[in-house]
Symmetry: C2
Subunit: 336 residues, 2 copies
Amino acid sequence: MASVTLKDVSKVAGVSYATVSRAVSGSPEISEETRRRILKICKEMGYTPNSIARSMVKRCTNILGLIVPSLNNPFMSELTADLEIYARNRGYNLMVCNSSYDHDLELEVFSLLIGRQVDGVIMIPVGHEPYDSLSALTRQVPTVFISENMQNYPENYVSVDNFRGMQIATEYLCSLGHREILYFGARSDSKTHELRLEGYLSSCEKLGLAPHVLRSSYSRSSREVGYTLASDYFSRPRQETAILCSADMLAIGVKQAAYEAGIRIPKDVSLMGFDNISFSALPEIDLTTINQPTQQMATSAVDMLLDHIRDPEAAHTRLILPPSLIERKSCRPIKA
Amino acid sequence: MASVTLKDVSKVAGVSYATVSRAVSGSPEISEETRRRILKICKEMGYTPNSIARSMVKRCTNILGLIVPSLNNPFMSELTADLEIYARNRGYNLMVCNSSYDHDLELEVFSLLIGRQVDGVIMIPVGHEPYDSLSALTRQVPTVFISENMQNYPENYVSVDNFRGMQIATEYLCSLGHREILYFGARSDSKTHELRLEGYLSSCEKLGLAPHVLRSSYSRSSREVGYTLASDYFSRPRQETAILCSADMLAIGVKQAAYEAGIRIPKDVSLMGFDNISFSALPEIDLTTINQPTQQMATSAVDMLLDHIRDPEAAHTRLILPPSLIERKSCRPIKA
DNA sequence: CTGTTTTACGCAAACGTTTACGTTACCTGT
DNA sequence: ACAGGTAACGTAAACGTTTGCGTAAAACAG
């Protein structure tokens, strides 16, 4: 497993190892003839440059850290895949860490990544932290937040317009004749979920609807949480004709609970999600939802991060992408 | 962003930087008193050890490479999550790369990871490569394959007993009275899928059933592939009463195609999968399937890899875990 | 009190690169 | 032919650690 180094190659080639370095790293200070000769020897000897040593002197690793609450959520795993592929095409590798929806762990892996000397960090935050502890970290390394609005802080972020997205959803349900719409969400310690809720509330006001809000005590937008909360909800009398969930995974959990409670969707109650994960398109799920342009979010986040790595003094950037309605069959019009 | 080094701390503490190094790295060659004093100064100055420099001299990075065909497949993204969490708890970070079901890309990212000086590689292979090109890489760094049987090669791997799993599935369908069972699978250039097919065939022979096999020309076990292939299948006359898929994602695609073709599951045809991804438990999917013990696969793979990092000369290890039947509602008994 | 071991620390080399600077040798223009 | 310039390569320092070795002082045994 002992690998061959520049020094080894230089001995064989009969040149200094600086020359070999210039040959492999594409420096212009070398003749084409010797370059070809040296590269040939490198190939024969199976030389691969040690990127650790290179990082040491160049003071950059070409590694990006990614902190994600969970990979069991398809929205996040698909985003992760897009991020990794695009980053690699731009010459960066990803070090991925699960925060498991845990604030403390999130901060812990963040400093771990800093110790790893990553050139930048992309983070899908669990929610809003006490900003002090977070900014102590973002000051140390270029960071962009994804899928979370950091509008009150000097941070880079790219997200969908969550406020507008929920407005679109609420308006859509209202246009179908729903007047009693339940907003069903995760605990809003994240600005993202706060904005979604506010979008709902603002539309309610504008449309003259009475708001109904049911929120989980977990910040996790998982199927299990949706299922548990909805099972309880369905066991009691209710007046709402539509349920608007703050995430598709939550909606899928709700659907499961509805199924077990003998409540048909959309016959008995209409159901909407938010995210447009790929599973929502299945005919058995067929969930009307709000789309997040994940691919564009991924490429923009990487671009944004690399820009800030190149120029750490650059002003903070925010990018808010437009959501769109994906109409499927989980909602139906009701008579007035 | 200029970080504080050992040298900076040593100046303040009035000791040599070797002493500071011993203080932070927990060497016994230092008095408890000075250790406490130095660690206090470290904290005050915000010192974080540079793991790149450490890797340089220790000749190990505490980084593991993970190569995975896709993160859009829940089986793989859940496995990835388990691997990352367990590896991190054992002091290793994961560098994740998508191979996008591409053999050439798979080899390319593998050498990329070697250049990154990862201590080991965990790989979910796309399928069987020409073994020469692969072994040229596995010789350079400890590697364990996961979810793929490498029984014909001197490699470490952990997988479920795919052969037995498909036997269990076939036997189960037969016990429900099905005599005409379609095996619906991805192209078998992977040993995993070859073994699954063989398990089916062996059970067919044992049970006196005529085998029916339909295989995709893609190695990708995605919903789209299942949907496309099944749409075509359902458009023609058929005699099978049950469809046994080589992966849950394939089965979900089949279910989608069945839905659109007006074919009810399990009323018109029974359907089985393999993998037991979390979505299969949804009441709308409710797929009878074969469980893979992913969590145990993940921890075993990491343990196995770390063992071989510690002792690279150790004999190759193979671990084959037992599959189990998860009975849900996508299959029904038929009359003889 | 002497001789030996142990403890706690400093010194310096090493890990494999990159790159500023120095040094040739060759080329150019006059 | 000569000054000046340039192309091509070598020398050595630097990046931030770890660690073997050396050494002084402290601890210990007799």
